[in-house]
């Protein structure tokens, strides 16, 4: 990578830079004429005589001449500003493109790092380098050549003018330059060093903040918050010190500049005055020189600040780039090449040694052969070199001596395109990507875009522009919107078959039940798949039938019924008999919805609900007044949590006092309404629900359905014949509430739902719906075991020739044993390497190799 910023700029934008300079030069005459014209207008057109004037062979009288000159002036103003506008946009665009190129290059280099290199760098340091640290470079690139060329040119012209008036004065004008030229770089060098230090310090801060976030549970578990606070605070102080020093020096440079610039007129007045008195210089010339000198200060100042900026940006560039140039970085080809070879043949280690840079991470002089299609256990505790051997076999790390072959191919010479497709590796520390389960399962099939989407009209235009920009900045032109799933590699013919295969594998690793449960809890958009929604409605109907016929079952649920009150549902659900279309809207936000507000006011329910809310708040305050906050009672049973308690105390106090001022604010009222909305009468037996109120609610419900639900799309009504997208699949199946006043009603109903779902063959569809479950940041919404299994299925779906598993399903339990048998069965045609620390498990495999301290101690 280019070590210096200027080399980088010149290499990738020399043509554009020359163009910028040319256009800049083009503005010279325009600006010159623009300055000359007013003089001409005043002296010649207004005060002149002997008209008409001859312009390009046309005669002009005084007035037309004036108009002509003024119009020319106007034209030049437009041209000059237009050029400036064009130039600025051009420069900005160039800067952004170069920045994009730089950032992508940096990211691609991260992908090219060898795995052991990541032990030395942390994401907390790399991220700010690629994002914020290079930001200034973009703004600078457009000016890199144009500004010195333009302002330097101005400076030379002005100095030339002064020299022409009088060489001695010329010397005086530039007398301070040598001193400035010497002192300022000296000071600037120190500033550069300080900026480097600052950048590095900020990186450490970023890294520490990142680490604190990752390890926040440890911080609390060990009460180490004080230590971390002190650590960060110390770093911040360091930052302050460096910054302060930089300020001091920067302003010192500014001070020196200003001082020197104002010192020069001193020489002018002295030398120039002397020359005028002696009669060697006219007073007019002296004044002209002084005026010219004033014009000199502008370019000079700009050049100096450009110099400072250059130093600053260069240092930032270098400080970033030096981190992305490790000597052992992979070739770009390894990453981007589409060349693939088929890896048939035995896995062969030929006297392989490798060192990960720490004790327990090395292997020495390993020679082994695993026949194609065979299975082999690599046995050894952590630190025996087991993981390293498996990573070597996967081509993830390279041997320091010796060679790893699969068939005739040296793994070190192969590209990612081969290694990542022909070998499936699932290590002990798996990573699940933020996204859906489907994204994660099919991740191993997304190597290249396969079928681009059809684009027309604006879409096509945008796409072309995107490709064009990518080409200009050496970014890849892979289409993110294309279909990436390589069905052929997975050995299936269609998306449905792929889903089917994934389901089979999920069953093999017994993750299907988990996904089924996630599927029940997920929402789906019926417009995507009508038949599924219809099936759910069928199940709903047969469930309702079963509930109606079986009194025992009937006692466990309260189904939605337009004409009766559902005591196991909240007051809001009862009143609206509908749910907000947007499932993200929480119960606290509902009272603030425009249509809800209007409806409540019209029906007079706003007052009633506020009274109920007030009563609830009062009861809660009374009940929990003597309960300490940390007992946990409040959190699990009250509507109000500990933090909101004082707020409601205030509301109740105001409401009780009956004062008009300060009365309850709208926000307070909404809070009370929200409280009432959350009331589930069968659970919270606060005695606020009277029979009259129930009847009123049922009447009002009909009005809400008529006025709000029908006329808008912000609510979806409970309708036995309609799938309700805002509800989970499970709630849609049941179409009611399990009674909260019956023990285990929820569980018992779930069982019934499960049997009906299985009878109707809906289970698969629900599992597929579960594929769309969002797993949270890095799979945080899954358990560690689920994450491993997902990674395992991801690896198996690749249908690779060689499968390598390390530390997966290594338990001695019956479940794990069945899973291992299943894996061996599934992979019976393929080469299968399995890492474990347990010799007993290894005995299940047809071949095993025992590692001890990096050497093979036994083969069996």
């Amino acid at each position: 990578m280019e070590k210096s910023l200027f080399r980088f700029i010149w290499k990738y934008s020399s043509r554009q830079q020359i163009f910028i300079i040319l256009v800049t030069v083009l503005t010279y005459p325009v600006v010159y004429f623009l300055l000359e014209l007013p003089k001409l207008i005043v002296n010649d057109a207004v005060q002149g005589d002997n008209f008409p004037r001859d312009v390009f062979g046309f005669d002009f009288d005084q007035i037309p001449y004036l108009v002509l000159l003024c119009l020319t002036f106007l034209g030049l103003v437009v041209v000059s500003n237009g050029l400036k506008f064009y130039l600025n946009v051009y420069k900005g665009r160039l800067g952004e493109r170069m920045l994009r190129r730089l950032r992508f290059e940096l990211f691609q280099r991260v992908l090219r790092f060898r795995l052991p290199h990541f032990r030395k760098v942390s994401s907390g340091e790399i991220i700010p380098m690629i994002t914020s640290e290079v930001e200034d470079v973009g703004g600078y690139i457009g000016e890199a050549f144009a500004l010195p060329a333009y302002q330097g040119g101005m400076l030379v012209v002005q100095i030339g003018f002064i020299f022409m008036q009088d060489p001695l004065l010329g010397l005086a004008a530039i007398s301070s330059y040598p001193i400035q030229g010497y002192v300022i770089p000296l000071l600037q060098r120190k500033v550069i060093l300080l900026s480097r230090k600052r950048v590095k310090n900020v990186r450490v801060i970023a890294d520490k903040v990142g680490e604190s976030i990752t390890g926040v549970a440890e911080i609390h578990a060990n009460d180490a918050a004080a230590w971390h606070s002190a650590d960060i605070s110390d770093r911040l102080y360091e930052n302050f010190k460096i910054r302060y020093e930089i300020f001091n020096r920067k302003f010192l440079i500014k001070f020196l500049n200003n001082f020197m610039n104002q010192l020069t007129p001193f020489f002018f007045y002295l030398i120039g005055g002397y020359l005028v008195i002696q009669g060697n210089l006219s007073i007019g010339a002296l004044l002209a020189v002084i005026a010219a000198y004033k014009d000199l200060a502008g370019p000079w100042k700009l050049l100096l600040s450009f110099y400072q900026m250059t130093a600053d940006v260069s240092v930032k560039y270098q400080t970033v780039v030096e981190n992305f140039d490790p000597s052992d970085i992979y070739d770009t080809d390894r990453l981007t090449s589409d060349d693939t070879v088929t890896l048939d043949g035995d896995v062969k280690f030929d006297r392989v040694s490798f060192s990960g840079g720490a004790a327990g991470q090395e292997v020495m002089d390993i020679s082994l052969t695993v026949p194609a299609g065979g299975d082999c256990a690599i046995v050894g505790p952590d630190g025996s070199g087991r993981s390293e051997v498996l990573q070597l076999a996967a081509g993830l790390v390279s041997a320091s001596s010796g060679k790893v072959f699969i068939g005739d191919h040296d793994l070190d010479k192969l590209t990612d395109a081969t290694l990542g497709r022909e070998i499936a590796y699932v290590g002990g520390a798996v990573h699940v990507w933020t996204g859906t389960i489907r994204d994660n399962l099919y991740y191993g099939l997304r190597h290249r875009p396969l079928a681009p989407p059809e684009r027309v009209g604006d879409d096509l235009k945008n796409y072309k522009r995107r490709v064009n920009e990518a080409k200009q900045t050496k970014n890849p032109i892979y289409d993110l919107a294309a279909d990436w799933s390589d069905l052929k590699a997975a050995g299936v013919g269609s998306d449905e078959e792929l889903d089917q295969k994934a389901l089979e594998l999920l069953e093999t690793v017994s993750l299907d039940n988990d996904i089924y449960r996630l599927g029940l809890q997920s929402r789906f958009d019926p417009s995507m798949n009508d038949t599924f929604a219809e099936k759910i409605l069928e199940v709903r109907k047969s469930l309702a039938g079963r509930i109606a016929s079986d009194a025992k079952l009937g006692g466990l649920v309260e189904l939605w019924d337009r004409d009766s009150f559902n005591a196991s549902a909240s007051l809001a659900e009862n009143l609206f008999f509908a749910v907000p279309s947007d499932p993200e809207i929480s119960m606290d936000e509902v009272p603030d919805l425009e249509e809800v507000k209007k409806f409540l006011a019209e029906t007079g329910f706003d007052e009633k609900l506020q009274q109920i809310g007030l009563k609830i708040a009062e009861t809660m305050l009374e009940l929990f007044a003597n309960v300490s906050g940390d007992s946990g009672l409040l959190g699990s049973y009250s509507f109000i949590n500990q933090d909101d308690l004082p707020e409601f105390e205030r509301i109740v106090r105001i409401a009780k006092s009956g004062q008009q001022r300060p009365g309850l604010t709208d926000a307070d009222r909404s809070k009370l309404t929200g409280l009432a909305f959350k009331l589930v009468p069968a659970r919270h037996r606060l005695g606020v629900m009277t029979d009259d109120l129930r009847d009123e609610i049922i009447v009002a419900r009909k009005r809400f359905l008529e006025s709000v639900v029908k006329n808008g799309d912000s609510f979806v009504a409970f309708d036995p014949d309609v799938y309700l997208p805002p509800l989970t699949i499970e709630d849609n199946l049941l179409f009611g509430r399990a009674r909260v006043d019956r023990r285990d009603a929820r569980r018992r109903i779930d069982e019934v739902i499960r049997t009906i779902v299985e009878e109707t063959g809906l289970r698969r569809a629900i599992i597929f719906a579960g594929f769309s479950y969002h797993v949270g940041v890095s799979g945080s919404r899954l358990s560690a075991g689920q994450r491993r299994k997902i990674a395992l299925v991801r690896g198996l779906l690749k249908n690779a020739k060689i499968t390598i598993l390390d530390d997966i399903a290594t338990g001695l339990t019956e479940d794990d044993k069945i899973l291992r048998d299943g894996l061996r069965q599934f992979l019976s045609e393929k080469t299968f390497l399995y890492g474990t620390s347990n010799a007993e498990i290894a005995a299940e495999f047809s071949q095993s190799i025992v590692l001890d301290q990096g050497r093979i101690s036994d083969k069996g």
Partner: protein, 152 residues
Amino acid sequence: MTLETEVEALRKVPLFRGIDETKLRLLAFISERTEYPSGERLCSQGEDGDCAFIILSGAADVLVNTPEGEKKVAQVAENSIVGEIAILCDVPRTATLVAANDMDVLTVSKDDFLKLLKEFPDISLEVMRTLALRLERTTRDLADARRGASGG
């Protein structure tokens, strides 16, 4: 039934007789109100107990497992608390409870009951007193039984 009526019922439970009303209200509020139709099981002998039952109305048969099958040994009626042993000392249910008629029951989960005891020591005292009384009675019964056995 509302909280108030529940409190009235709780007041009649000997274990809670000495406890003031606001605490009873809290107890009632954090408990789950459940209905059991006649014949439904409240709990089964041998399973882990995670809650105590306060019978507001109706009655339950107490059954124990014998080699000949389940055998009714007692009946618990309104205003009594059952199953509290299981939540106090982590032992499996010592008997099966089956609703003898339609019942109305307050269910207090183990966690909440313990939290409540911690929060209000006077409830603990009352529980202790009741248990001690029961122990005294059991001891006396046992002594009587022994005397009866040796005498017979």
